[in-house]
Symmetry: D2
Subunit: 482 residues, 4 copies
């Protein structure tokens, strides 16, 4: 397993084409806006080296028997699935943001099943290709970007009916040595901190869209790939002199639009090629794993609860009954989320490929709650924080020779707490509810791994309502069905 410095060094060797705020980024690793997101990924390497987290953060490869970072592991038991959920909460709590590495793990696990199943039906050899690739990822301890979401253009139209056929990523050329693809993947979390990009289709494809039914992996600096960084609320605070106004002074996240401008993929990196019949399965299995992955938000919730309790103490209101009750409610909602990611894991099962798969109904239910509760937890945190969270002067004002004394004097809370500390924790709550981290804690919770309606469709399909009707009819004496 790589150490954090080794990971960072490995990134320096990549030659990524990255644009940020309209400019090409010359040094991605040290860019002040991007760096906090790299720090978060680096922590997934650091925690794996920490003996106290070994059980959660590492696993034994089912291919090589080597000890590997769990983020590169194929789940071999429900215990593995449960540990994955716990890893999400753990790293989420340590970073207070999106640490970006779960999406690749989920892509690997989904492909371990779908490639097996395609082979079983069509006699292809995707699974062996995939396992070779997997071993490379595990041996090198790589970060993979799992790239699923296409830009999608007009949502009411399928891929081939879009005004621009590239609005979904597709095969534009089939060659002897591989394929050429064109298109883009949006909202790519941690893209420029990744060594590899694993592409998957974004929806169930029909025959007429079979050129869009393609899955493959390429190194992240493959020719033809361009990264355009998304803006985040308050992103440019990272360019400021002081670090205090960032809220989270070390970690962050990022998302990028990845453009594939006629990118070549050799055959041994292709895991699905026009088998449109399996596109839906791959989407669904990746989505279920990734919905489980939102266990990370429970960890971020831990941070927000800790911040809320802290500001309550700094304001001298921690004993007010309504404040205590709001902290209870935040914990209650956060632990309800925890129940979801534990339950869908402990109720997982073995698929034919040998990979363990979460209970898809419960995974969808879990993610559906993730689209709701963090918003309420954030609202409660803002309630406890008080209005100062959004009217607080800047770090520069605190340090100003002219007005620093006023800021110091008048923004004092309880007399035993330095004003600066009060400002810091308020900035953290701002970060998590309005700033860069709110992007991950709120909006990404809404749309990441599929928007709420996507989960509702799955719940509708997976909840066995017919069976429930049978019981109901029996209890009230309706005999029609018998």
């Amino acid at each position: 397993m790589k150490t954090p410095p080794e990971y960072i060094d490995s990134l320096r060797k990549l030659n990524l084409v990255v644009y940020l705020l309209g400019e090409r980024v010359s040094n991605v690793v040290d860019d002040p806006i991007i760096r906090p997101s790299l720090n978060a990924v680096a922590l997934t390497y650091a925690l794996a080296q920490d003996p106290q987290y070994e059980d959660i953060m590492t696993a034994t490869s089912h291919i090589t028997g080597n000890k590997i970072n769990r983020f590169t592991h194929i789940h071999q038991s429900t215990e593995d699935l449960v540990k994955k959920s716990k890893m999400g909460r753990l790293v989420g709590a340590h970073t207070g943001c999106c640490f970006q590495r779960c999406v690749g793990m989920d892509a690997l696990n989904a492909l371990s099943m779908t490639t097996y199943d395609i082979d079983a039906k069509f006699g292809t050899e995707y699974n062996s290709r995939f396992l070779k690739y997997l071993q490379y990822v595990q041996d090198e301890d790589l970060v993979c970007d799992g790239a699923m979401t296409d830009p999608k253009g007009d949502r009411s139209l399928p891929p081939h009916q879009q005004a621009d056929p590239d609005l979904f990523l597709r095969v534009v050329e089939e060659r002897a040595d591989g394929i050429v693809v064109r298109g883009a993947k949006a909202h790519q979390t941690g893209a420029v901190n990744s060594h590899e990009v694993i592409v998957m289709p974004t929806i169930t494809m029909r025959e007429e869209d079979k050129d869009y039914a393609v899955s493959f992996a390429v190194p992240s600096d493959t020719e033809g790939i361009t990264y355009i960084m998304g803006r985040q609320s308050c992103d440019t605070r990272k360019l400021e002199k002081g670090k205090m106004d960032r809220g989270n002074v070390v970690f962050g996240g990022h998302e990028a639009l990845i453009v594939f401008d006629d990118v070549f993929v050799p055959w041994d990196r292709v895991f699905m090629f026009r088998e449109y019949e399996f596109s839906g399965q791959l989407v669904e299995q990746f989505a279920s794993y990734h919905r489980q992955s939102y266990s990370c938000k429970v960890g971020v919730g831990d941070v927000l609860i800790g911040a809320a309790q802290t500001i309550a103490e700094y304001n001298g209101v921690e004993k007010a009954s309504h404040v205590k009750d709001k902290i209870v409610e935040m914990n209650h909602l956060n632990e309800t989320l925890y129940c979801g990611c534990i339950a869908c894991a402990s109720e997982g099962h073995r698929e034919p490929s040998g990979t363990y798969y979460v209970d898809p109904l419960l995974a969808n239910v879990h993610k559906q709650n993730i689209t709701r509760f963090p918003y309420e937890i954030a609202r409660l945190a803002q309630d406890i924080a008080g209005g100062l969270m959004v009217t607080l002067p800047s770090e520069e004002d605190l340090k100003s020779p002219e007005v620093g004394k006023y800021v110091e004097k008048y923004l004092q809370g309880t007399s035993d707490v330095p004003t600066e500390n009060r400002m810091r924790v308020l900035r953290l709550i701002e970060n998590l509810t309005l700033g860069t981290a709110a992007v991950g804690y709120l909006t990404e919770s809404m749309h990441g791994a599929g928007s709420p309606q996507a989960q509702r469709i799955m719940i509708s399909r997976l909840a066995n309502v017919k069976e429930k009707q049978k019981i109901a009819k029996k209890l009230c004496g309706i005999t029609e069905d018998e």
Copy 2:
């Protein structure tokens, strides 16, 4: 294990003193208001005989190695705990009501731990007494009423300060051969369908209340015990000629006030005697187990969802997008509840006594959701059902030679469904949201195993907020604690 007929026969042999609607009940087993509740308990015997449910409904006794009904089992693994949660959903779905037998199971498991811990501290021999008693319960496959809730009088006062000292059950005499107790236990679910009553204290006791720190078991027809049945909404519909207007035509629940008017308990049936230091632990452990037990409401929710889908079809609206969405929401909430009872079980652990204990934080979180979601599921069911649910004429009207034709003609839904069936399912929804089953699905969900505030106090104590504060402070750069 007993068969249902054997169970019913065993009840006939009891000589219970039961009052219902102001009258002594001469034949408890065949009383039309009580019988549906007995039917529900009997189903816990029937399902244990059914091979398809063997894994869920039965277990292997850790004392005798015999196959026993899971309701008498001491949990030996987290797998046992998970099966307990599944058993709750299973039986809840098969009965559509409270089946009453979990409370005794929870009392047995809590006592298996507390008696062990008291002995460890004080060198007493409660655990061996208890295990002997347990074996008797397992061998005879008995139903135990777990009796915890005292009447409590003025909630702002502790036991010994009540105007009437009997408002909490207490020891009034200590004798060579045993003790004499006086008091009452309220809200006793399934009391008159039980062979045994296991009494526990209802709150943490202090030294001045040590006479109230008492736990014991007595046969349900012990001299001095009187049962006064509680009324339920729509209870007397069970006295009517037809069964249709009951909604649930077979099953029901009941609760009773049990009065202990100077009841004698021999020493070998006493499991705690003035060890007030352990009263809190016993309450807390019983409560956590019992909060898990509200997995049953997920099963009742299954019935209500099935009924709602059925009436939607009968009304011809099952394809309306808002109806489909409400069914999704009902399933989503119900499965969120399921996640809670699974997670607190799979995250359980072994206690010193060897018994496996649920995760108490998650068990409390689960029960807290139970105090909320069934109400919303019921509201949605009423939304889908339509107003007819509360304006429906009676079964007698449907059968009336004068107006039956009108009822038949005008209450027709889709033309392929008999009007009677439409009426039956509406009555079932009425039963579950306003009638006898609403008592269990709603109000008991609120207060059973402790009212909402009791869970909030536990959540407040068990959520490790200090740890969360440490992380939060670190992330925003506060160094005070280091």
Copy 3:
């Protein structure tokens, strides 16, 4: 204006054909199940005689200039509309249930506008017929049942495509002296306490359904009309010896299915005849008025809040912070409802006929909240009440020579309050949340005056989203529309 005794006498003169629980009711006025609903209507007469409520309960007829009961008044100003909302809350609070008389008022007001508008378009003379009828209603101070809801059969089909064409009420014969109608009206609130039945169509009709576009008024005992009473949760408690277990010892509501088996209506009582183009308007206007009328639930909410505070005091928990907070929340929700019925009234406007009409958007918004908040208020009331609400022994147990002493002793709350009083207020909460009054406070709040989805369709149509889009585009610099 009639006195209550005069009202009751006038009912005795009617010869209604009423069926209840399968039997013809020989004496409707004194029937124990029906009587509480009559008492509630009678209170609308009593309060109109009370000088302290004169301003709210009475008005000046715009036809005769006489002082009339406001329930027969055509609104002449927004002040009138506001007083109507206040009257609803007032009578709701005095009865704790549905008092049934608003539906006729709303029918009269809607017809005052629609008849005028039909005449304006088609040169008919419906309005003058209607005004003559109105004067009769005002002079005699009559109760009118406003009958809109048809049985509707298969909801996915329009009237003429139903398997049975009578599932919507229709004209089956046109004669020189009038028309003959057949069909039924469901959920008719207070039907058998009414002197008159005013029939209106239930949905917007198209030309092929023009025989269903009919409105008229007939005396409630017209030949061919049969009433079949709907059952309510706990209805038969009114047949028991004592009154305590009813919860509300005086008042109640009822609903009936009214069957029109070829009923003749003379022309001067016909207010719409095949003018299908106006059926939608009549439905919409009646519905908006009637959605305003759900101000009554604010009054019922007052009762439930009062009951919850009372049981909190009786239990000795009224100072617990969570209890105080729940009472605040109940009040908050109840007053939010109040804001809705006040705002839709004060924002009303004059229609061409001279009648004042509520703001239809806000009336729909108000009713939509009515489908939600009473359920939450009821849930909070059950939370505060404690589980005893559903495990309470009967009045007969309290009075029993054998067990009365136990009930008295063990169900004592704070020592200064008689056990009986504690039982009474618990029964009232049961009545409002599970019993006969829950039918009105909950399920009727859901479906009366249109189910939730009906309001959502209206909100969708009435909220001027296009205008909002213009503003939004302008603010972000989109110039496409200009």
Copy 4:
């Protein structure tokens, strides 16, 4: 009345001491971060000149009979109060942010009552001083900052027990010609766009805190006053080259900490001086008016609904049933808020001073909903917007010669809408839910005019629960009180 240019000119004449991001602002009026907030205030002048809004935006002074801007008016009728609510929605919708001018209006109205009442009790002459001042404000058409909120330090301590006595603003010297005050006011909305600052105490004061019971008005550039601007999420986007990423390209808000470093106030500008008995009344009346003022958020909600509908159309999903339903829900919640601000106004009444006062219970209920519904409306807007809202590249990327083509190509929605427009409306939604406007729409909705708990305390005091208990007891037959 001033024109917008006259208003801006008048601000140029002020000599304010303003600090922003650690630096003294040399030109406040043209500062790019502050200017959008000034634009919003200027619109209150512009709309008052627009004939179509004359009725809403202007009033007739009860002192001079002149036509004045309603923001300087003392309400003379409930009609005036209703118009005030409508003005809030109107200007909120036109600016999409906080327009800052209501707080001064609310301070003036509260002082018109409290000064009158102090005089009536103590024979002082505050009211005549105040009216003279009011005429000046009306004649000059001034913007007043209503400054109530003190920094408050340790919330568990009263003013005189704070470690630093200046944490509440107080009189430090009484002179023949006036008083000298020291302290600060936090969260001062629109402070540096104001001509005047009107100071009021922030809580009910007791005798020992009488030096804190002080109210007065001073010109905003009085010697000793320093303004320290609060940071807002995304504030520095206003410093960027393009305007698109701001979301709202014209308007904004601001808040400042105002420091009073021994500021002199002449007697004719003092409106309360140590009459601590009236501090509570002033706080309560100002708060009630100001809670009504949150009608503005209904207007901002209009903008957000318009933006959500627009992005739905741009994405091609506006006909999806779940999208339509979410738009309905947003409108429903927004109009529920509207009901609150209309109802508290139309139910207003005349106070002894002649000023019309809102219904304080309903005003508090309204504001309580404002602390909840905008968060849910924002959540729904984010749901509809899709994840792109937080992963969108910058305006500079769109304009980039290198990657602009990719952004243009791949972020196209429906083919008939320019990509730029799609980006603009997404930026507006970001602005309102995470950016500068979220500060006003969310966090200010939470805490402005008092945090949620402040309203709950008022609801608890103002809801007449005793009366409700009387009714409840009567209905269930409890006779103790009679």
